[in-house]
Amino acid sequence: MMDKFKQFILGVSPQLSLTSLELLRKITVLKEYKVKDNLYEFGKIPTKFYILISGITKSYTILDNGNEYVNRLHNKGEVMGPLTALIENSEANFGIECITDCDILECIYQDFIHLSESDLNFGIFHRKYLELLYVSYTQRIKEFLSLSGVERYLKLRKRIPGIDTLVSQKLIASHLAITPIQLSRIRNKLKPKV
């Protein structure tokens, strides 16, 4: 299990020393969550961020029209958390819910900020992580604007193989910003013709 932690960290910043890695390990705690568990309370000021070791979670919010919007389905190895709220010390406007049972590493955000600001190695790791996050978020917005529902669905299936058996169709539709009926039509079209 810890190897995945190491793998993730070194994937972002290969030159992080083992000493630094140990320091980071000291401020993280591994917890088991059950399906439907929420990692923190929606609408409250959050204190932690998370690394998903196994399982799948959704990051979601409720739109003005009352609909749920799933802005991300997280797969193992990803960092999760209400980053905007953590940075601004404001109320979380996104929640994270486990869609399957999950093993998750938790870390108090301020502990990490302390490390990042007192140890340049972590500062560099943090900088690199935020850069990658920027790149992937920009990509998602571009896809949102330029790809069709079918294309977004195929990309999701590629990123999380077996997604259709892991989470509900309603959830997938919400993540792709299409209706469940549209998704069902897309799936029918994609089925190999007999």
Binding site: L120, I124, V135, T138, I141, S146
Partner: protein
Amino acid sequence: MKGFIERINNTHPISKNSWNELQKLVEIKTYPPKYKLEEPGKVSEKAYYLLKGVMRTYSTIIKGKKVNNGLYTDNRYVAEFTSLILKKPSVSTLETLTTCTLVEANYNDFVKLTDTHSDLNIWHRKNLETFYITLQKQDLSLANFNATERYLNLIKEEPKIETLITQKNIAGHLGISQVQLSRIKKKLYRS
């Protein structure tokens, strides 16, 4: 340069030594309107801080669809960050719309400097955090508002936008077709 210094101090004050080092990397330049600073297919090298003027980025991505990703006015960081970070060819054009005065620096040199100076590292990290928050707001706005609402938000944020860029680009920015935009405007002006 005053706007840039103020911006740094508001984000995370840096030491005199760090400022001296940073100054060695940056240059102030003025460009005419319609000047392309970055173009698709080229690996971007520079990051900019827009002191004065209006700029935009747009991209032709996937199946010829044009997407306008950004409009920038005074005191904004501007760059093809994805290209800078991944060192891959940019998919976007970064262009001045008016005469623009910019602070510019080679991003690699800049990052090397931030990786060796703790105060610059913290300052840069805080900038990246702000960029992330902007993206999140954009994402939420795409999901939360329909095209008409997004159009009205844009007009509210950038009242002169209709005179600055073409309808095609406004439609691209909103993620809709030109025909859809034209219908939205007809409806709005009728009522």
